[in-house]
């Protein structure tokens, strides 16, 4: 049998070969893989984080719990990380603007934001976010005054980070549900802000 040349093989075929052997050996089941794929398609995504942010905006006690212990606070919604990872939520203010990156791999708060978009995993974002955060934010359309510290959170351990964006002005009359609708994924990564419609 010819040794597989992985670089030239269709990854779809390699994946099928890998899954079939692992299933055969009882190290995985296709049923479990189906469940995981489905859960990220249907249940786990940035709408979770948006619910958490909206609640923090309207409920100061919840916000306090969220900032002290993110993992416990999101568990109140039934959201948990598949690996039990710690979740740290950092609040954006006029003084400090937080943004999240993972320079070593692509760590991302799956439990509240789902799977990361391709740009978050790109070499350009991973390399540049720490050394030129203001330039990166500008590319995302966000210009911040020099009086605001731009603080980059490099997720180098198993702790996951989510940003609590500033509640935009003019949203006083909005319900929690309506507020959740204006929280964007980018604002929870910290490359954008929530905007009043």
């Amino acid at each position: 049998m010819e040794k597989t040349n992985m670089a030239n093989e269709d990854p779809a075929i390699l994946t099928k070969a890998l899954e079939s052997l692992l299933v055969e050996k009882g190290l995985v089941t296709s049923g479990r893989i189906d469940e995981i794929v489905k859960s990220y398609e249907e249940d786990i995504g940035p709408m979770r984080g948006a619910q958490v942010v909206a609640k923090a905006w309207v409920d100061p006690e919840y916000k306090a719990r969220l900032l002290v212990d993110g993992r416990s606070a999101i568990a109140e919604f039934g959201f948990t990380d598949p690996h039990g990872a710690e979740l740290v939520v950092t609040e954006n203010t006029d003084d400090v603007h937080n943004m999240v990156v993972c320079t070593l791999c692509s760590c991302y708060p799956w439990a509240v934001l789902g799977l990361p978009p391709a740009w978050y995993k790109s070499f350009a974002y991973r390399s540049r976010a720490v050394s030129e955060p203001r330039t990166v934010l500008k590319e995302f359309g966000l210009e911040l005054p020099e009086s605001t510290e731009v603080r980059v959170l490099d997720s180098n351990s198993d702790i996951r980070y989510m940003v609590l964006p500033k509640r935009p002005a003019g949203t006083d009359g909005m319900s929690e549900e309506e507020l959740a609708g204006i929280v964007t994924r980018d604002s929870m990564i910290g490359v954008g802000e929530a905007v009043c419609p």
Binding site: P11, A17, I159
Partner: protein, 228 residues
């Protein structure tokens, strides 16, 4: 290891292309599912970093996951080269070839074995949700908020979570986290014992000198043994 994966501050990757997709093909979702469901060690971060540098830079995100996983499973003997080659040939000849059926009993046993191994290794995040347990709280943090620290200068050839750009740089402890399992030099991704963990803020100027952007900083998670 000082590999190409350690990208913080590197130049030359150009502007950020705003590709919003998480997956570009169906097999990528399968690879993600396999990686999360698989009850066998291998394919973790160290295997990703151990890919040939040109291969790492030349492959898509999920291709790297796929190759790293196959490489480690082959190296560990969990899958033999021969059976892998045979499976590839089979699905290349006919992608709709017969697929083995799930063995729930064997899978449960394999998951139990993984749990046991991680428990033995002292992984504080296992089982999931146990990270706030009382035993690890007793691990006393030697440093306090406001303490000035310096990240160690190290160049291990094994796995480390201490990025190059911060080694030897001075920062300040801004928060103390719950202890976290130490991960360095753990090729099979089992955690060794937990250590106190700190959020350390490094000023942009300390990291990037005159090239630093105005009023910028980076916060990293620092296991206690990373700091002096």
């Amino acid at each position: 290891m000082d590999g190409v994966h350690d990208m913080g501050g590197m130049h030359g990757f150009g502007p950020i292309e705003r590709d919003e997709l998480s997956y570009h093909d169906e097999w990528e979702a399968r690879v993600h599912g396999i990686s999360n469901a698989m009850a066998a060690p291998g394919g973790g971060r160290f295997s990703l970093e151990s890919l040939d540098p040109a291969e790492y830079l030349g492959s898509s995100y999920y291709t790297r996951w796929l190759l790293a996983r196959i490489n480690t499973l082959l190296a560990a003997g969990t899958i033999t080269q021969q059976e892998f080659d045979a499976a590839v040939a089979k699905y290349r000849a006919n992608p709709d070839s017969e697929f083995p059926s799930d063995d729930e009993t064997a899978y449960k046993e394999a998951q139990e074995a993984v749990r046991e191994r991680r428990k033995k290794a002292g992984d504080p995040t296992f089982p999931p949700g146990s990270g706030s347990g009382s035993s690890e709280r007793s691990l006393e943090a030697k440093l306090g908020v406001g303490d000035q620290v310096v990240a160690k200068t190290i160049h291990p050839d094994g796995h480390t979570r201490l990025p190059r750009y911060v080694r030897g740089r001075a920062g300040e402890v801004i928060r103390i986290y719950r202890p976290q399992g130490f991960q360095d030099d753990e090729p099979l991704s089992d955690h060794s014992g937990p250590q106190p963990m700190y959020a350390v803020r490094f000023d942009g100027k300390e990291l990037w000198g005159d090239q630093a952007e105005a009023n910028s900083s980076v916060v990293l998670d620092m296991w206690e043994s990373y700091l002096t």
